[in-house]
């Protein structure tokens, strides 16, 4: 955190000054470790074992916050009889379809009820939920349909004594029983003594009076089991009563100014604004069927139809009517995954002809960077919008494939447009930060030359396309021509008014006035709202994201600084900060509470303001009304924090340790080596290494340095940052240096089945060998900021990474890979290809390697 979010780390230092203990778990010793009370180096890719060990410790030593667990989690819920755990099936869950590499999740459901997830994969039980007969064969794994015919809802069974063998609590206990300190030591390389210390620190600091927070970043997400890493932390934190309370939580430290906003208002294939799923292709699907399939009976997702209809009204205005299902049919449909990596495959296959890159540099920033470049070389046209000539704009001229002779500039047919982008000082708009805070940045000056904002670009591109297609009667153009696309512009360059766009996102009522809360949204077409969770950001016609009341003039929650979604709440699920009766768990940790009439406190309560703790829903109540006065987790279909996830994940209801796709070790926990449903891509440029290969005996992980930003587009070109970390390097331990004859400041070549890169060597004791599985493991640290362009240069670490994805998030596994390292620079030109081929030969790599389940 000190390494990548230094300014955020000031709050860790504040906490430390008030007596907090900081534990840093990371393969390398970073600037965070330097300030932590305890640094715990572990093997990259073993966190589920580590966290699972913590869960086991909590359960065996009965360190859970029992009142919280009983009231707010699904610990007591009984799971259906058909469910089989990894304990029963040696590492896999029931419902595994080996042929299609996917799970049928129906057996994971609660007894007597089918619940929908608040997020994640929601289309997987489409047919069960719509009770429709269908013959469509889904293209994507993870959306395969089961044969069961369970009802869409029902009565959830519970056992408050937590003793029923099929209650979540007991399942959890059995599942994590094998995650012992001995096992943690063997899997993670963390000595038992150290691990116990962490267990004690975490549990002693959790409960009524104290809370523990977990902070993570892409070190947890960029794995083939990334979503399950976070799930493990969720289980732990829910057991300890650390969710919804001040000083608790699982905090995603996100790495880009508006990466949170980029998922809230997603430029992601599978989502519509506000985490509404993009519709999948189903036979004659109606809006109602979609809502039934994707929404929830209970909780705020019960109002999905209002959110979606309001979105359709925002986009298609008067053209979205009750008669045409509010233009629901205008939405294009998914058939499986269309993530950025599938897009590259489509480029290589020649079905995707054009590509927009807006502030993104996949030629060095995405896994298997070579595939990205080859994909671009197969395009008809490419538009790159950035500040400088990044690698993604110049690969046709000076990319690595030109050097190896795999591509010749004269043979590349891709037409490339480079359009200079405007900086944040040259445009107005909002960023959503890592704590869901929408903060407005105001335009300071006009952009120079041809530099323009992406708002300008998108608006004017749309305007031009609409003008060119105006008058077309072709049905395919209907959604485009019916689109509400008329924003006020200002200034000499006709910049669209960002605040007008924000107002559309916020939404308006029948009278055209801005809405102030998503609870005002209706499903009858009388309200419009571009992103329901952002509803209220323009309440009263005031740009709430631009609120800047100085911190010194308000309390520590600072509710009047900017605006947090939803409803300006700073801590989600904060109902859980009070006990079931609505009293704070403790005075120290008081946050929101029931004052006898209403919910009140330091923050905006994340609960219906007037719903008393003793409220119990009537039979057959729907949506928010169906939540009781103690159902703190209001977005969940059962109002509970999920220790066990009956839906939403495609790779299991409980996290289990699987080895990374490319691991030098076999899985000590189960005979199932890796996530059985991880997403693999078969391509000659994406060859995988066999697990346990002696040719690739080391583990490498990629990471950031304070001095640079992501793939370097905003840092490698700046002299003041470039001089601080002037070139690509790898970090290794003195022991590995001795083993491989690597010299401090010399060169190293790092090899995987994809390619080899070179890096200067920093031999440092900050990297430490670990004892894993009975042998010494060396890890190679690779900061991934570099590429050949700019002032600070070097090979891109992402050249090494395979495209192998988490099946839930379709995020690549770059945080744990097996590799080889040797002294000296890498071969140049065609010799590099031969060098890598030789490695593949030695490791016996074929197109089948790594494809096994």
């Amino acid at each position: 955190m000190a390494e990548c979010h230094p300014v955020g780390f000031q709050w860790v230092m504040e906490a430390k000054a008030r007596g907090a203990t900081v534990v840093h778990v990371d393969p390398r010793f970073t600037r965070t470790s330097a300030l932590a009370d305890l640094h715990v180096p572990l093997r990259a890719g073993s966190d589920i074992a580590f966290l699972g060990g913590l869960v086991n410790y909590v359960l065996t030593h009965e360190k859970d916050f029992r009142e919280y667990v009983l009231a707010y989690t699904n610990a007591a819920t009984i799971v259906g009889e058909e469910f089989r755990d990894t304990e029963d099936l040696d590492g896999v869950f029931s419902g595994l379809d080996r042929e299609n590499r996917s799970y049928d999740p129906m057996t994971w459901q609660y007894e007597g009820a089918v619940v929908q997830a608040a997020s994640g994969e929601r289309d997987q039980e489409y047919e069960e939920r719509t009770e429709a007969e269908s013959t469509i064969r889904e293209a994507a794994r993870g959306e395969a349909h089961g044969a069961g015919g369970a009802g869409v809802s029902g009565e959830i069974h519970t056992d408050e004594t937590l003793t029923h063998p099929r209650c979540v609590f007991q399942i959890l206990k059995r599942h994590y029983a094998r995650y012992t300190p001995e096992m943690v030591e063997q899997v993670c390389g963390v000595p038992q003594e150290t691990f116990r210390r962490v267990c004690e620190l975490v549990t002693e600091n959790s409960g009524r009076e104290r809370t523990t927070a977990f902070a993570y970043a892409v070190g947890w997400t960029q794995h083939t089991v990334g979503a399950q890493y976070i799930r493990t932390a969720s289980i732990l934190q829910s057991l300890l009563g650390n969710i919804g309370r001040p000083g608790g939580g699982i905090l995603a430290l996100r790495g880009h100014a508006s990466i949170q906003g980029s998922t809230d208002i997603p430029t992601l294939f599978n989502l519509l604004p506000g985490y509404i799923p993009m519709p999948h292709a189903h036979q004659n699907e109606t809006l109602d069927e979609f809502v039934q399939a994707e929404g929830a009976e209970k909780g705020y997702w019960g109002n999905l139809r209002s959110y979606l209809v309001s979105l359709m009204k925002a986009w298609w205005g008067p053209a979205a009517t009750e008669d045409n299902d509010y233009a629901f049919g205008y939405l294009p449909r998914l058939t499986g995954s269309h993530s950025t990596y599938e897009t590259v495959m489509a480029q290589l296959e020649g079905t995707c002809h054009g590509y927009f890159l807006m502030g993104e540099n996949p030629a060095v920033g995405s896994a298997n960077a070579k595939m990205q470049r080859l994909g671009m070389a197969a395009l008809d046209w490419l538009v790159v919008r950035d500040f400088s000539l990044i690698e993604s704009a110049t690969w046709w001229k000076d990319g690595p494939e030109i050097e190896t002779g795999e591509l010749r500039t004269e043979d590349i047919g891709t037409e490339v447009f480079f359009l200079p982008a405007a900086a944040h000082t040259e445009k107005s708009g909002s960023f959503t930060n890592t704590q869901r805070l929408l903060q407005w940045h105001r335009q300071a000056v006009e952009p120079q030359g041809d530099a323009r904002s992406d708002l300008w670009f998108t608006y004017h591109l749309g305007r031009r396309i609409r003008a060119k297609l105006a008058g077309s009667a072709d049905e395919m153009n209907r959604p485009l021509l019916d689109l509400t696309w008329d924003y006020p512009v200002h200034g000499a360059i006709a910049e669209p008014d960002a605040e007008a766009v924000l107002a559309e996102i916020n939404g308006s009522g029948p009278d055209g006035r801005p809405l102030s809360a998503y609870t005002e949204l209706t499903d009858d077409g009388s309200t419009s709202c571009g992103c329901w969770i952002y509803c209220g950001v323009y309440a009263d016609g005031v740009n709430q994201a631009d609120r800047r009341k100085p911190r010194t003039e308000q309390d520590w929650v600072a509710k009047e600084w900017a605006w947090a979604w939803p409803a300006n709440r700073r801590i989600l699920y904060n109902r859980a900060s009070a006990d079931p009766d609505g009293r704070p768990w403790s005075e120290r940790k008081a946050y929101v509470w029931w004052d006898g009439q209403k919910w009140t406190g330091h923050d905006v309560p994340d609960f219906e303001p007037g719903k008393a703790p003793d409220y119990r829903p009537e039979e057959g109540a729907k949506g928010p009304d169906a939540l009781s006065g103690t159902d703190a987790f209001i977005m969940q279909a059962d109002g509970k924090a999920w220790l066990y996830a009956p839906a939403g994940l495609v790779d299991g209801p409980l996290p289990a340790h699987y080895e990374p796709h490319e691991s030098p070790f076999t899985n000590p926990l189960y005979s199932q080596q890796s996530n059985p449903v991880r997403q693999v891509i078969r391509h000659p440029e994406n060859r995988y290494q066999p697990p346990g290969s002696e040719v690739f005996p080391y583990v490498t992980t990629t990471y950031r340095l304070t001095e640079h930003h992501t793939a370097g587009g905003m840092s490698r070109w700046l002299p003041y940052l470039a001089e601080l970390q002037p070139e690509f390097f790898c970090e290794i331990s003195p022991e590995l240096a001795a083993e491989r004859g690597l010299e401090h400041l010399g060169w190293a070549t790092i090899v995987t089945a994809r390619t080899a890169i070179e890096a200067r060597v920093l031999v440092t004791e900050r990297l430490t060998p670990l004892r894993v599985g009975g042998r010494t493991l060396h890890q190679v640290g690779l900061p991934y900021h570099w590429g050949p362009n700019g002032l600070s240069t070097g090979d891109a670490a992402n050249e090494l990474a395979p495209v192998v994805l988490d099946p839930n998030t379709h995020i690549q596994e770059v945080k744990a890979m097996a590799c080889d390292i040797r002294p000296g620079r890498r071969p140049r030109g065609p010799a590099l290809l031969e060098f890598v081929r030789e490695y593949r030969r030695r490791a016996g790599i074929t197109d089948e390697t790594g494809m096994e389940m």
């Binding site: 000190a2 230094p6 780390f9 000031q10 230092m13 430390k16 000054a17 008030r18 007596g19 907090a20 203990t21 900081v22 010793f29 600037r31 965070t32 470790s33 330097a34 300030l35 932590a36 009370d37 305890l38 640094h39 715990v40 180096p41 003594e193 150290t194 210390r197 340095l705 304070t706 001095e707 002299p719 003041y720 940052l721 470039a722 001089e723 601080l724 970390q725 002037p726 070139e727 390097f729 003195p734 022991e735 240096a737 001795a738 083993e739 010299e743 401090h744 400041l745 200067r760 920093l762 031999v763 440092t764 004791e765 900050r766 430490t768 060998p769 004892r771 010494t776 002032l791 600070s792």
Partner: protein
């Protein structure tokens, strides 16, 4: 009434080595880039203060001997101390803390020190546990400033805030201030010829603003304010650290009775000054100036007297040859 003397207190125990100070300083003062060189000195690629680096963050990878070795992990090859230039080192040089006592050879302490400074790492080895010291260095704005004293043009002057500033419109690049500084701070910019160093943001503090580095510092490792207040705060901090067992902590440059009369920018360090590249006992060179003049006077008289004697002895021409 002249304003209070202003200064920096750099508490390295909370420095996270982010280098925001280096960049903020450069942005504010429009300082040129200082070269793109990977040094191998841990994460320090600017090497030290110079004409083009007015704030510099030192990184020291260090072993803190606590006397417990990690079984099964051998450290192959010689491991030199941080005094070793990286080119001669087989690894990022680490060193045992210079003041570590054999008495600290206690079993590895895993209990976190209560809101102490930086921890030592879990990793232990033959030298002890690893810690990573970071410290942002800057011009000390000495009470008795050698650079200022020797400047022949008045380019260097002491401001109303007690700081020492070079006036870029006056400096003629004589270079005298450069070896006069006992800390090696001020330096000549090669293509420019003039001497440059930290101004403690003279232009900013004149309007009541905080110097750029202190303003940016995320963890308040760099604190700016009236020197008296800073000294009091530092004294409090050091007491607290000592109370919780951080016995390494010591102040540097805070003492008005030291060789430079105390620094306007002083530090809390976790090891001996020289580990950070700071002189252990700096003395302003001009402290000895009167004596130097006396010796020079004596020498001049010796010359005069010697020659007078020679000529007296030889007398007029035609005399004794």
């Amino acid at each position: 009434m002249s304003p209070a003397r202003m200064g920096f207190f750099t508490d390295t125990s909370v420095c996270i080595g982010c280098k925001a100070c280096e960049v903020a300083c450069k942005e504010w003062n429009a300082i040129p880039e200082d070269g793109l060189k990977l040094t191998g000195m841990s994460y320090d690629n600017t090497e030290g203060l110079s004409a083009d680096t007015w704030r510099h963050v030192a990184f020291i990878e260090q072993r803190k001997p606590v006397g417990l070795a990690e079984p099964g992990v051998d450290h192959a090859g010689p491991v030199p101390d941080s005094g070793t230039p990286p080119a001669e080192a087989p690894m990022t040089p680490t060193t045992p803390a210079t003041d570590a006592l054999p008495s600290s050879l206690a079993p590895r302490e895993l209990v976190p020190r209560p809101h102490s400074a930086r921890s030592s790492a879990r990793r232990s080895g033959p030298g002890g546990e690893l810690r990573w010291l970071m410290a942002s260095d800057v011009c000390k704005h000495c009470t008795h400033a050698g650079c200022l004293d020797v400047c022949p043009t008045g380019a260097l002057f002491r401001t109303e805030y007690g700081t020492v500033v070079v006036q870029e419109d006056v400096c003629n690049g004589c270079g005298y201030c450069i070896p006069a500084c006992p800390y090696g701070v001020i330096d000549q910019r090669k293509d420019d010829g003039r001497a440059w160093k930290c101004t403690l943001c003279y232009d900013r503090i004149g309007e009541g603003l905080t110097p750029a580095c202190a303003k940016a510092c995320p963890t308040e490792s760099i604190q700016y304010g009236p020197l008296d207040e800073l000294r009091a705060r530092a004294a409090e901090r050091i007491t607290r650290l000592h109370d919780v067992g951080v016995t390494d902590a010591r102040l540097y440059g805070h003492d008005p009775d030291d060789g430079v009369g105390g620094d306007g920018a002083f530090f809390l360090l976790l090891d001996e000054p020289e580990v950070y590249g700071l002189p252990p006992d700096p003395v302003v060179t001009t402290r000895d100036l009167p004596s130097m003049w006396r010796h020079a006077g004596a020498a001049a008289l010796t010359l005069l007297g010697g020659l007078a004697a020679v000529f007296a002895a030889h007398g007029r021409t035609g005399g004794r040859r």
